[in-house]
Assembly symmetry: C2
Homo-oligomer: 797 residues x 2
């Protein structure tokens, strides 16, 4: 590549100057355009160079074998892997005889820009071919947040200096070659050509392709329509063959002349709908988009985002870079969930094939708390997916000899796909994480109807799981043995504190919701509810009186110290260099576990316990998971380590922009991006929502002058403005718009005021009111340390 390259966070976006081919995989992830339904990696329009071409549809996957050298009962035999579907991005260009490819010729300038207010990816390149013809190529790409099925691209070539003959080819391509990510030849074979093209047609400027996966038998339909403007004499034709459909233009452009193409693409997929039904579906979506037009789509995209930022923006003074990173992060969180509509949100959103495109607990624990307060409709939709997969989860529980629902540790469609049970099946806390997210969503949205339709089932089935998983030990309370908590460097331990506390909350929430909705689940008898409450009450919560801290799980504090001193930077992540057996039996923590309990179940700990526990676990936590910085940051802030919290905020927010874990290539870390909202709000704002009640203990780290954030709460917007001396709480009614009607009022509390706690003191804020309250003196702590070299990460300059 020629010249200087740089990736720059802007106030409202991310800009790349020059093309860094070595960094292409990362920028493809960062520049992904998604809406929760469709995800399109930031591949160049011309297709190549690329690192990993990717177009994904939420929950569109192929089935792959899961091999075991030594199998076991209940091991899943089939996995699910997200597949790159029909690619509609490519618009190739031939300039005289030379393909437009930035690896050849001379690139005078190249810029890409993700605009998070416009919701578009722009691109502008000036390039001189090896044959010395110069062109400027500009494109704007959007995946519509308003019209779920639509990808749209405006693309233009202008000839500079001297006339040139140009050929433009806009394509649909199935089964693009992608680099293999597996060593297993059988799996590679399944994923090499995942699609069978069943229909491939062209009709004037419209291309249509329909394909099916071999084993999962899912069908995807893609229809593209083209509009164009070019000089007189521009010739157009289209054709389709094999796994390609193509529209082509040929013309000669004089200097200053342009050929412009608008490509509107509709995607649809289904397991059940027939070929004609799918064709009609995408054809209808395309017609609607044509009706809106390119300019119309741009406008509605911008309007959607204007509403979003208006309701949800986090404003930070004192660190512009962090301000920008937080906005960038929130944009991608929004993109991951805006239109997921009953299909869940994968760990990487739809930005890359990492983790096989699976959904994990991180969605409920990290991503949904953000969406619950910023775009509640999206949170409710993601949780509806959990309700939808309850039958599979019940079946899995039965297979495991349990009652209720055992949600899969990792899945796309609902079936357990985890092939290593100690860090999969055994991580039952996911049940409580989902229950917690549902409870939070209901509390924040006040959506009683949703609660009756979805939350009751989710809570009942998970409560049943806990009662069948644990047991009443004579004299020892309700024990939950042999499970794995969030920390994956410990596994299969007894009475994991996080799990037990979350299970307690789950059981109580289930008991409450059944009482609130009598008759919804007539199969739940009073005795069962009594047992839930008793299990919650007697839940075992181990405590190490000798050290005065909570062991993460029974026995943890008795284990040997891990020899951090002998580790070098290259030994991380430890799981690639140390056997599990050695990690499991030593005091080393991959990611916040007990500390996550301090955050999410903070009402179960005293301030002194929090301080002691945080100080105990911080030096043991290596943060080999991107989920951890957020939690460590929030609890650091609560326990007074404000500078540390500040640095964790930056790590969470810059995880992907700075590629801190060197795997952004596979997709963005949605949970970490969510942390860019969570640490400011829950750390520096001190926001908690225990028991469905909002409370705050605002406290800013020295570098920040002020912080402002908003929470949507039952049809109102609570704005919190914090500086070093005071916090101001204001309540606003929300004007509801068709493009964002996710804020559903409900519940029985008065709509015109909100009662909250500020440092434990009750404050009632009426709509239109501003309450300014002083912030008490914070006892700042310092001196806690992390394992050598595992402090908050910053990109090396």
């Amino acid at each position: 590549m020629n010249g200087h390259t740089a990736l720059t966070l802007e106030d409202w976006g991310l800009r790349e100057d020059g093309l860094d081919v070595a960094r292409l995989a990362q920028t493809e992830s960062l520049f992904a355009a998604c809406n929760g339904h469709i995800g399109v990696r930031g591949n160049l329009d011309e297709g190549e160079p690329h690192a990993l071409p990717g177009t994904y549809l939420n929950s569109f996957y192929e089935v792959r074998p899961l091999p075991y050298a030594e199998g076991g009962y209940g091991y899943p035999e089939a996995g699910q892997t997200v597949v790159n579907v029909i690619d509609a991005k490519p618009i190739r260009l031939l300039v005289d005889d030379e393909p437009f490819d930035l690896r050849y010729g001379h690139t005078a300038s190249h810029q890409r820009r993700l605009d998070i207010r416009a919701g578009t990816l722009g691109r502008s390149t000036e390039w001189t071919s090896p044959g010395r013809r110069s062109v400027r190529v500009r494109s704007t790409r959007l995946v519509s947040l308003v019209q779920r099925a639509m990808l749209a691209i405006e693309w233009e070539v202008e000839v500079l200096d001297a006339a040139a003959r140009v050929v433009v080819q806009s394509e649909l391509v199935a089964n693009e070659e992608i680099p293999s990510t597996t060593h297993d030849p059988r799996v590679a074979a399944v994923l090499r050509n995942p699609l069978r093209v069943l229909e491939n047609e062209h009709t004037n400027a419209t291309l249509f392709m329909l394909a099916e996966t071999a084993t999962s038998a899912l069908r995807v339909a893609t229809m593209a329509h083209h509009l164009w403007e070019g000089p007189e004499g521009t010739e157009f034709r289209s054709d389709s063959f094999g796994e390609t459909a193509r529209a082509s233009w040929i013309t000669t452009l004089e200097p200053g002349q342009t050929l412009k193409v608008v490509k509107l693409v509709a995607y649809g997929w289904s397991r059940r709908r027939s070929i004609p039904a799918l064709r009609d579906q995408v054809s209808a979506a395309l017609l609607a988009a044509e009706h809106t037009g390119w300019e119309g789509m741009l406008a509605e995209q911008a309007a959607f985002l204007e509403d979003y930022w208006d309701l949800a923006a986090v404003d930070i003074e004192g660190d512009d870079h962090l301000q920008r990173a937080v906005r960038f992060s929130m944009f991608h969180v929004l993109q991951s969930g805006a239109r997921s509509e009953g299909r869940g949100i994968p760990a990487k959103g739809l930005t890359g094939p990492g983790y096989d495109g699976h959904k994990f607990w991180d969605t409920e624990t990290f991503v949904l708390p953000v969406l619950t307060y910023t775009m509640p409709e999206a949170a409710g939709d993601a949780l509806m997916w959990r309700h939808r997969i309850l039958p599979a989860a019940r079946e899995r529980a039965a297979q495991l000899g349990l009652r209720g629902a055992a949600f899969p540790w990792r899945t796309i469609g609902g079936a357990e796909c985890s092939a290593y049970w100690p860090a999969g099946t055994a991580a039952f806390h996911i049940a409580a994480d989902i229950a917690d997210a549902a409870t939070r969503y209901v509390a924040a949205s006040g959506d009683v109807d949703w609660e009756r339709k979805y939350a009751v089932d989710i809570l009942v089935e998970t409560a049943r799981l806990w009662v069948s998983l644990g047991y009443f030990a004579p004299g020892d309370g309700f024990r939950i043995d042999g499970v794995t908590g969030p920390d994956e460097y410990s596994a299969v331990a007894d009475n994991n504190v996080f799990t037990n506390l979350m299970a307690r909350r789950n059981l109580l929430a289930a008991a409450d919701v059944v009482a609130r909705h009598p008759g919804v689940r007539p199969d739940v008898l009073p005795d069962e509810v009594t047992t839930w409450r008793r299990a919650a009450e007697e839940m075992a919560v181990p405590f190490d009186a000798r050290l005065g801290v909570h062991p993460q799980a029974e026995g943890f504090t008795d284990h040997a110290a891990f020899d951090f001193a002998s580790m070098t930077a290259d030994d991380y992540p430890l799981l690639l260099h140390v056997p599990y057996f050695d990690l499991y039996r030593k005091r080393v923590v991959k990611q916040a576990d007990l500390v996550l309990a301090l955050h999410l179940c903070g009402d179960q700990f005293s301030d002194e316990e929090k301080a002691a526990d945080f100080a105990y676990y911080e030096p043991l936590t290596v943060r080999d998971s991107s989920l951890s910085a957020t939690t460590q940051g929030i609890v650091a802030a609560e326990t007074g380590y404000l500078d540390l919290a500040y640095r964790y905020t930056r790590e969470a927010a810059l995880m992907d922009v700075d590629d801190l874990e060197r795997n952004t290539r596979d997709g963005l870390h949605m949970a970490s991006l969510a942390g860019a909202w969570l640490v400011p709000v829950a750390g520096f704002g001190g926001m908690r929502d225990h028991g469905g009640r909002l409370s705050f203990k605002p406290r800013l780290p020295a570098p920040l002058r002020s912080l402002g954030f908003s929470l949507l709460w039952r049809g109102r917007r609570l704005r919190v403005e914090v500086n070093h001396h005071s916090a101001t709480y204001s309540l606003h009614a929300v004007e509801r718009r068709s493009s964002l009607d996710g804020v559903r009022p409900g519940g029985t509390d008065p709509i015109d005021s909100l009662s909250l706690l500020h440092y434990g003191e009750e404050v009632t804020v009426g709509v239109g009111e501003h309450h300014r309250l002083p912030i008490p003196d914070i006892v700042e702590r310092s001196g806690v340390s992390q394992p050598e070299g595992r402090g908050p990460m910053e990109r090396l300059p």
Copy 2:
């Protein structure tokens, strides 16, 4: 098949009347002829019908991939699988136009008989072909215990009733079709045709074939020479092609006439020796056997066994069936180890492909104690193999971040082949089991030279492992966390009592041996030895004071009860019907673990503790492993449950003859067969050898009138005769014979007497003396129960 079929234990052997094709796989295992170097399954001479053709050479294996859907650091990538080598058993017969095949025509009689004094497998069949020609086929097969490389077969056909034309074909065959035992197509591909034939020749009556495995690059050479007698005019020819070499005879036999063939077969294999060297090796072995002749080989085989039974027989009065089963079991244990010579003893011996032909801890813990006292040379040889693989074990330890040697949980050649680490790598007790076997061997043989050459290294390297694996916990002793004990229904637990007690013994033995052999390991400094002794002294041994029992590992007694009541007979073995996670966290025991500690480390428990512990674990132990009955029987006897012990003896001894676990098809259960010696000797004889000192507490169950057994001890034979009232101890010098010179005198104690304990009282027995001592009254216990349906197994009548 026609007529009645039966399998009958004889006084000195096993007889089959009629051929039960459905049971063929089991009888192929039971009738296997082995010497520890070569193993030949009891396939019929004519090759078919067969269940599983099998000819194995100790440590001859192919490498196979070990696939993981989710891999991990330190997971072995390649496994080793025993392969069926060149088959030299087939002698086919054509009678007129009909192949001799018992599935067709009429079998008037068929008998096979394993004679454990002759060391031969006899066979006699009268068969009428579909074309109504009747023949009698007789054969005798032996794998020489004296000439390690040799298999020999005498085969004869006699025509009955009417003359018939017969064709006899004696073959060497490579790559026989065998039923696939894997679902993994890559593994199946590797094992489908494991041999590449490099040489295949015939020269008159001699056939020669040499083949190589593709990946492990091992070469096997087989040479067969034939002698024959037939009527005048018998025509002979030989040929070789593809993967077959063949000697053929054609003749017409009048009624009463016979054609007799003696086939002498030499096997040799090597990774390093050249083709000419291997050819010479088998040629020389064959020449020696020809020199001995068939009758000579029969005679030396019988002499070897006469010596063996004379020195080692266990005599039981009161249960003839048990007497026979014990002898049968001892014969197979002898066959597994007699000539293993530096290559170890697999779990199935060389009787079948079960467990991939791997060697496990069961050899050291169950098989070697028998051989140590009945054929010590074989025990020493098996342990030399452990010394030989020390470099691989040291490398594995380093890979795992440990010091010393981490012996593989399962292997053929020395590399770890376990693909499920919680029940593989984590089962570190194998190190102490090997150390214990080496210590026992040295104590019993008195072989100081062997101790210096082999035991020192084994003990030093395993002691180092323990010190690096455990740690000194302030105020909590020396802890060994996160390991798996013998019970595979628990895993990765802290302070497994069996492991810790065995590790303590290991550490002390290492410290002692280093002191006895100064200078052998100059790398061991005094400080290190001090640490070993301190770790041993401070070893954590958890005890549950509330229940008054030892938890198998920390936390075990706190776990939930397993719901045995809801299990049916079809739910066993549980591992095929219950997920590991559920087994691990509940009180259910696959096989003796703490109870094995009560036996092997009995000097570390009081009688009261033994009684309480046994009564606690017996109702939790499902015995899904064939290793368990032996231990439960021994400890049942010690704690006074004599009837229960008696029934466990029968289970252990009849495991394979009655196919109690329905998997004898894959090979015999060597450890269980060893139990047929161990329960009488250690259970009813009460023999213990703690600290290298023999002690006895004889006690017979009601059905037995008397018990006699012998122990070889530093060049003497101690004979113990027990009845209900007294025990008689006599000491004999052993006349050493060239065929059995494994009894190596040594050590410093006087050669002409032996000091032992009888019920705690010291008795010194001189050579030629008989000491008769009364047996105190035994407090018999009863009433302990097993999980429903999991009492000692008996074959259904």
